[in-house]
Symmetry: C2
Subunit: 495 residues, 2 copies
Amino acid sequence: MRDWLSQRAKLSPEDVALIFKNEQWTYAQLNESVHAVAGILHEKGINAGAHVGILLQNRPIYVVIIHALARLRAVTVPLNLRLKSNELSWQISQAECVFILCSNESKDRLSDLELKNLEMILVDSMGWPTVINRASNLETQPFLFDLEAVQGIYFTSGTTGRPKGAMLTFKNHLWSAMGSAYRLGHHSDDRWLLVLPLYHIGGQAVVFRACQYGITIVLQERFDAEDLYQALKMHQVSIVSLVPTMLQRLILSFDDDGVPEKLRCILLGGATAPQSLVDHCLARNIPIALTYGLTEAASQVATASPAQVRLNPGTVGKPLFSCELHIVRQGNTECQPYEVGEIVVTGETIMQGYFHAQEATETALFQGGLHTGDLGYLDESGNLWVVSRRTDLIISGGENVYPIEVENVLLSHPAVREACVVGIDDPEWGQRVYALVVKDALEVSEQELIAYCRKHLAAYKRPYMVHFLDQIPRTASGKILRNAAKEQLESIVAI
Amino acid sequence: MRDWLSQRAKLSPEDVALIFKNEQWTYAQLNESVHAVAGILHEKGINAGAHVGILLQNRPIYVVIIHALARLRAVTVPLNLRLKSNELSWQISQAECVFILCSNESKDRLSDLELKNLEMILVDSMGWPTVINRASNLETQPFLFDLEAVQGIYFTSGTTGRPKGAMLTFKNHLWSAMGSAYRLGHHSDDRWLLVLPLYHIGGQAVVFRACQYGITIVLQERFDAEDLYQALKMHQVSIVSLVPTMLQRLILSFDDDGVPEKLRCILLGGATAPQSLVDHCLARNIPIALTYGLTEAASQVATASPAQVRLNPGTVGKPLFSCELHIVRQGNTECQPYEVGEIVVTGETIMQGYFHAQEATETALFQGGLHTGDLGYLDESGNLWVVSRRTDLIISGGENVYPIEVENVLLSHPAVREACVVGIDDPEWGQRVYALVVKDALEVSEQELIAYCRKHLAAYKRPYMVHFLDQIPRTASGKILRNAAKEQLESIVAI
């Protein structure tokens, strides 16, 4: 199949592809940019199959690079900007990146990495956007996509242990876009505001959808409620993807100045939306779509459209046309309606597997389904209700925090003997990270431990509070009783 | 992939799938109907791989049967209701049908066929729709579709000789639906009126699209301008597929009573729309989309949306996202913009080939493209302008007439020595069939020959006029000069 962007540029060259601040690019201009940038990257040695890390802010060049790497048949490895050096270093080597694209702002993050055989490319030095007319040494068009090929490796916590790289193919993105359009509708004048980070699947999926549908992306560099509200109004945005924490802050503007006229869908995902937020939106006619998605399934899996949310507030709805949902209990037998079990997803959007992690892949993918580790149930109509995300996963402000990672850092401190990390519900962040710690012989303060974590972990992963105690609740066999630990912490927080 | 209808019935059971006269069926009800009917057909011996002819009017049961045969993995062979016995007999045996589904009204058409090993099933005797709750001996759900499997064999004139059966796969239909949605938009409250015969690809494509998108089909049994206008209004139809001849008659109602409020797109295909019709629609704000499609490409290939028609009246627009267009001249080299050549289509919607017609398949499909035999050019923006459909093809009221078929019937008459059949432009029908005949020793009248053709050919194929002359214009090698013959006839008609 023809390269999606060059096909789109042929079909709607004059339509606006991308708006960022006061600038905009048509599909023809975006395609020319991508051609020039792909030429530069090719000269620097990026070829088909190369794994290329991206450590960039939400900027137009990020969108250009996503398409350029696809055109070169290189594999995109988006890296979370909030990771600490050791986390970055681990992901870069785990994904076997041979190049890394960074900016003047992000390059310092790489300075103390000890990575051999890794070439750093500074995107600010490429001269974009003035390179558009530069001769390119790329092969002549048309570029073709092999739909079965891996487009990117997306790090995700998975159900256990350290982050793993989910391999998503072009086919996964194509089917995801189709399923999303059939659920949310595709209007020819749609404009999709993208404030989710492009290093998350929820951000990247919008890039591919927009290109396939031929609609406009309104890109925001970072979340600021007032800026976002103004952008929604000024650019006549019709769809925006948000995590609940963002919407919590944004609705203050809605309350003051009304819902922007053209806004027909706020796609709310990344974490379970608090019922109070859903109720507030319904009361004020704010059109929210609730969605359940996973990196391993190329973003949206189930989605309740705004009309469906009004009928049945709280459910994340039915699976997309391209997916199926099953709720299973132990032994992989199907649950009855309302019976809670593990959410299993099948369909054409499921990842190829985790990169170089055969065991984790076999744990996640078997009998044709993605075993999410998330708990939920289906009602008698087949609507999905998510009970809890991956048993231990903490989702704070839309970012996934896997407790074991934080616990490992705490345990690496000489004064810590035992550690248990849990997420406690928080009205603003959805959840916040809390830690229970049993001290060893040495003395240490809460502030010291938080500072220690700040040094070794992305800011959103470090504990908001550390509580010391004599004993962490465990099973007879020594396994941490996370729910008991959580209850204990909740009672402390409540005081 | 899961059977589309059972997936849709899970996702939107309460949404209306089908409206016919005063009746309607939800997706859940349609799915139950299909399950019951598939069970009956299965009991009658229809299994995976069986070729099943359908000779039915546009009725709800036709829609049910399309889905039921797909569920049984049988191959649908839609048959044109207007064919004469000998034509029917040829197509049925050519497609190797082992069953044929007909109604009380259509069964007489089969009575004088001499077909061995063909079982006739009368759909009126199946008891639908009251069979819904009948126990079915079908295997348990879910039913799965193999996207690479052949869904149907659709007879089409092809570029030469007798009709050939184009094999379309589920994948072809899936990509066609996706491409159409991205071009025309998909609104969750869309209702698509279907008056095109279900035995044509343009009709059947709507059945698959509606099911994938989850929208409503408003089915009409036959074309009647006043009935159609009332149905558009009463059922709040947003999209309707028409051939130009139908729209010519319908616009009188638009002129008198206005364009129905919800109607956002009249998809006009099957034949080139006369410029006068396009101009009339533009002047009155009638939202027409002009499309170029082929049976061999699962319907739409290029489409100009109503907005694009307003900008650039006359073009059929750009290819769908799922297709590509090339204009080639002899030797398969690509033409320049505005240079007329043969239209070649590539993409995921192209048929697998013609059934049991290897030579014709090799003529149509080579170097990865469908060589349509139609002539056209691309403007500098890549919009397609169709100059003429397959060299000799006559399109009359949206039906394809291949001259050689009519000529063969004329030549079979003892009084005819030579015959040449051409299409002459007609304001109502697009084209009408005219014949030039050189008599043999015997005497024969125009009326006798027309009556003779009426006996052996579908009504739309018989000549509207037969003109006798002494010599048919031919090349030195004896090949008919069709353009010269046409000019000669045009000058006679003009008198």
